[in-house]
Amino acid sequence: MVRIDELLMNEGLLMVGRALAILIVGLILAKILGSATGRVSSKYLDAQRTMLFRRIVFYLVLALFVVSALNQLGFKLSVLLGAAGILSVAVGFASQTSASNIISGLFLIGERPFSVGDIIRLDDTMGEVLSIDLLSVKLLTADNLFIRIPNETLIKSQVTTVTRFPIRRVDIRVGVAYKEDLSKVRRVLFEVARKNTLALEEPTPDFFFLGFGDSSLDLQFSVWVQKENYLNLKSVITEEIKNAFDRAGIEIPFPHRSLYAGSATEPFPVRIVEGGKGTPPGSAG
């Protein structure tokens, strides 16, 4: 009897040992295959997809070995799958949001509207994409804040990828006084763009007349720039435009108010005060 018990125990230990060995081999193999996939795919794909492929290969290989190890321990695969099915329904109900985010994440990775390193804008938030994960996208804003946006939000909303194309347009709105000659204003603005080496010569800058404003002729001057130089040009060119307008004697007006008493009323009484010694208007008799 003792010998049979020992035999069974030894056999049990052997099974556990085998299962453990399978798991360890599986883990090592999954790591090797995962990094090999990463190395190969990094030659052809971007960082985001490389990471995704590496993880898929790693978890797939590991899952196969885990199943094999369980099988070694005497668990039946069909029972396990059935249990997993019931479990997944329960987990699915409990974690609808997470599941939705995961699905959205997969779509984001597949559709690739932006990649790591791009600058995106979502409503009022703008930042550089640090990572695209299964549940969320992490952004770094210009003021060094870390923002986590759930993938579901990104799928549902309008996202602008600011750095998608190599060149961008800087739009500068400027108002000039009604008395100014617009052809002269146009000439001065184009000269400013020509002299700035960051402003692209082609596509040529655009000059738009936006309308007759309350106190100024409203204009838009648009200059193309390499995306990396966008902020730099935007700050420099506004200063250059102001200086060029000052040199050319072009007035940038601020809001004017005309006070009019109307034809039905008497004109405003005007009193000339000499040397600032007059009586204040309220005390006039």
């Binding site: 960051l198 402003a199 692209l200 010569e201 082609e202």
Partner: protein, 303 residues
């Protein structure tokens, strides 16, 4: 080039055997050398700077200051707003008061190393992107015709130290404007822009110390008239050749517009062009183009 008049003085720095002649400007003094022979000696080559000395080089619109200390090199540069200025002037070493004034006016960049040696190399280099050259008057090339035009492109200055030529910095002598060259704002290539007279007669070429001349032969083998408003010049693949006459030339470029399909073949003829035979100096290109042939769609060369 009428602005260049040089005064010839003796080398001031005895450290380096190959120290070029030192120059100072004297508007009415004749140095007894031809101006163009002086240009290379003054701008490009190997110079010697003793510890604590500062050198000043004016190449076209840019003035470069290089100071040598025991364990560091210091660099500064400034430009004047005159792209056509063809001035070449070297002060080696520079006067103390001039250096003090420059140090007060400019921010010197520091490059640290264990020990500095007296050797300093200044060499011209092509731009780090293609240059889109726009003839000041666009022209049409008739079918089955060939022409050679001379176009100029802006140059960079490479500052290297020690015998093994350790690079300190590369500076554009005149920073050209950026431009985009491509069929749309989504596809294309970021280039520098430049304007050229696109002269066809060699004697009319205007040489400036900060620009290199490329002979571009365009042959139109198609049956339609070729309208040339701008040319994308692949300067990163072109070597530079300095003639004894002082001019800087590049490899010549041949552009052939084929009949069908509408493709252009760009061939870079390695070696100095006929105008620059037996060059005094040769500077290698930034990139090598394999067999010297680039085939591009027509839209990526002309517009």
């Amino acid at each position: 080039m009428g602005k260049n008049v040089f005064k010839f003085t003796k080398p001031l720095d005895p450290l380096c055997g190959e120290v070029p002649i030192c120059f100072g400007l004297g508007p009415d003094q004749d140095c007894g050398m031809t101006m163009s022979a002086v240009v290379h000696a003054a701008c490009w080559g190997r110079f010697g700077l003793a510890e604590g000395q500062t050198g000043r080089w004016t190449i076209g619109p840019m003035t470069l200051w290089v100071k040598r200390l025991s364990q560091e090199w210091r660099l500064a540069f400034e430009r004047v707003d005159d792209p056509e200025l063809a001035l070449v002037e070297t002060a080696l070493p520079c006067k103390t008061e001039e250096v003090e004034a420059a140090e007060a006016r400019l921010a010197f960049e520091r490059f640290l190393m264990r020990d500095t040696t007296a050797v300093l190399h200044l060499s011209p280099a092509q731009a780090d992107r293609s240059v889109v050259v726009r003839p000041s008057t666009p022209f049409h090339l008739l079918p089955r015709q060939e022409t050679t035009i001379f176009v100029s492109s802006p140059l960079w200055v490479k500052i290297e130290v020690n015998e093994e030529k350790k690079m300190l910095k590369e500076i554009p002598i005149l920073r050209p404007s950026d431009t985009w060259f491509g069929p749309s704002t989504r596809e294309g290539e970021l280039c520098y822009s430049g304007q050229t007279q696109a002269r066809m007669i060699e004697d009319e070429i205007c040489f400036r110390p900060h620009r290199a001349i490329t002979p571009v032969t365009i042959s139109n083998e198609a049956r339609t008239v070729l309208n040339v408003e701008k040319i994308n010049l692949p300067v990163t693949y072109l070597s530079l050749y300095g003639t004894a006459g002082g001019a800087l030339w590049t490899d010549s470029v041949q552009v052939k517009l084929a009949e069908t399909p509408l493709m252009a073949t760009v061939t870079i003829q390695p070696g100095p062009p006929p105008q620059a035979q037996e060059p005094a100096l040769t500077f290698p290109p930034r990139l090598t183009a394999g067999r010297g042939v680039l085939t591009r769609a027509m839209s990526s060369l002309f517009a």
